[in-house]
């Protein structure tokens, strides 16, 4: 059963922000399935990418020559999860298409096995870095 569905287009001005998505579970489920994706992963505009790397290097006091060696420039968005009992974990990895299952006797990497109990839950989308002018984020939470 679908519990939460969320779609949003993020822009560079929304980098370094957390989007909290609280949701209520009203009945007990065997497992929770979270599907999360964002597009694009990589900033396609190579010129803009080199400019961003040069700005990043300059900010760190490093020479900007050789900026192209640091390409590609990637967007990085992660998710984390709270149950009514507290923090369950995060999927801090670079893949931009992820699916996670959490249950009392199994949890995908990054999460702690948890009983899917009624109460207040929360998924948090963390925009660590947004380079592309538009990044389409999709998240779906289902109970099974």
């Amino acid at each position: 059963m679908k519990i939460l569905s969320y779609n949003k287009t993020l822009t560079p001005s929304e980098a370094y922000t957390h989007i909290k998505l609280p949701f209520e579970i009203n009945e007990k489920y065997n497992s929770l399935i979270i599907k999360f994706s964002y597009e694009p992963k990589t900033l396609a505009d190579k010129r803009q990418a080199i400019l961003l790397v040069e700005q990043g290097l300059a900010k760190c006091g490093e020479p900007i020559e050789g900026a192209s060696g640091y390409l590609p420039v990637n967007n990085l968005i992660t998710i984390s999860l709270d149950s009514p009992a507290g923090y369950i974990g995060a999927a801090h990895r670079h893949a931009n298409k992820q699916e996670h299952k959490i249950s009392v006797d199994y949890a995908d990497k990054g999460f702690i096995r948890s009983e899917i109990v009624p109460g207040k839950w929360c998924v948090v989308i963390s925009a660590h870095y947004i380079a592309s002018s538009k990044v389409n984020v999709a998240l779906e939470v289902c109970g099974e």
């Binding site: 990043g56 760190c60 801090h92 670079h94 990497k109 990054g110």
Partner: protein, 314 residues
């Protein structure tokens, strides 16, 4: 005499963005000749139960931690479960670190001078930290081939600046270990500890040194002195015993210590490994030891560096 053991205090599994399973991480850590690890997966504790089961069975030391992987800097944190990494921001960082300290957490700054965004978003320490009393450790060395990295030279300069201000912070090494060994040179944080609580206590007491496989023992006026302890100012006879016990996978790099450097505030005293002793007048503040030498054809590389020994005022 205290015996120091090598630890890796910054590592990841496939529970965050590493590629090793918990079992592979411990297997590889043993191959590296380590006595223990601090697990610091990005923003998750989910590898810990499996690591703990393996470590207990194998008599391997496990420090249970996390890497707060935030937008403006990374911290390795042990015993910090009461802190939510998502709450850290540039406006509250000093209060959050104080709260972590009050709760009993041990918090260290990870790779403070790595490149930040877009190369490695959040990897550079950009927080406006104004009170370092809440910081227990500082990665003065990180990554593979640490002696080659400009970000480590910058980290050591900043570490000295903090010590000069009177902060008491342990010198740490963190490989930031994500993947199985690729034949790279690595170091370790050396701690006089054979159990997790002893290891944490040693870091809190700044009784640490970082090294590429050299064991350091400092004797002052014929008495061994622990790193992080305090002595009186004035004239002292400092002996530094440097013993080669190169970490197993680093033996191919032909590490050869040559010079001992005593850094007392801004003053620098040098002696050779052969002499291994120097008479100095220590001024109030701190001193720490560095050992330089050759490695893999690099003739003047930083091979080891200690936490400070504090010099009391008159």
């Amino acid at each position: 005499m205290n015996k120091y053991f090598p630890f890796e205090l910054h590592c990841h599994t496939y529970c965050s963005d590493g590629s090793m399973s918990p079992a592979q991480l411990i297997d590889n850590a043993k191959s590296r000749g380590l006595a223990g690890i601090g697990i610091t997966d990005h923003n998750t504790y989910s590898a810990i139960s499996e690591l703990q089961a393996i470590a207990q069975k194998d008599d391997f030391v496990l420090l249970k931690g996390i890497e707060w992987t935030t937008f403006w800097g990374h911290f390795t944190a042990f015993g910090a479960e009461s802190i939510d990494w998502r709450e850290l921001n540039c406006g509250n960082i000093n209060q959050m670190l104080a709260r972590a300290k009050e709760s009993g957490a041990l918090v260290s700054i990870a790779h403070p001078f790595r490149l930040g965004a877009p190369v490695c978003s959040g990897c550079r320490m950009e927080y406006p930290i104004t009170d370092y009393h809440n910081i227990d450790g500082y990665e003065i060395m990180s990554g593979p081939f640490p002696y080659k990295q400009i970000f480590n030279a910058n980290a050591i300069a900043e570490y000295d600046r903090l010590l000069a201000q009177g902060y008491k912070i342990a010198a740490l090494y963190g490989y930031d270990w994500h993947t199985p060994d690729k034949g790279f040179c690595y170091g370790a944080t050396y701690l006089p500890a054979k159990a997790a609580q002893e290891a944490l206590n040693a870091i809190r007491a700044q009784n640490t040194f970082v090294s590429l496989g050299l064991h350091l023992c400092v004797r002052i006026d014929n008495r061994q002195v622990a790193f992080g302890s305090a002595i009186d100012s004035g004239e002292h006879y400092i002996e530094v015993q440097v013993n080669k016990d190169i970490l197993p996978l680093c033996k191919k790099f032909e590490i050869e210590p040559k010079e001992i450097i005593v850094r007392n505030n801004q003053h620098i005293y040098r002696t050779s490994i052969k002499e291994n002793a120097i008479r100095v007048v220590l001024q109030t503040g701190y001193f720490r030891i560095e050992v330089r030498g050759s490695i893999n054809g690099d003739m003047d590389a930083l091979l080891a560096s200690t936490s400070p020994i504090y010099i009391k005022g008159d």
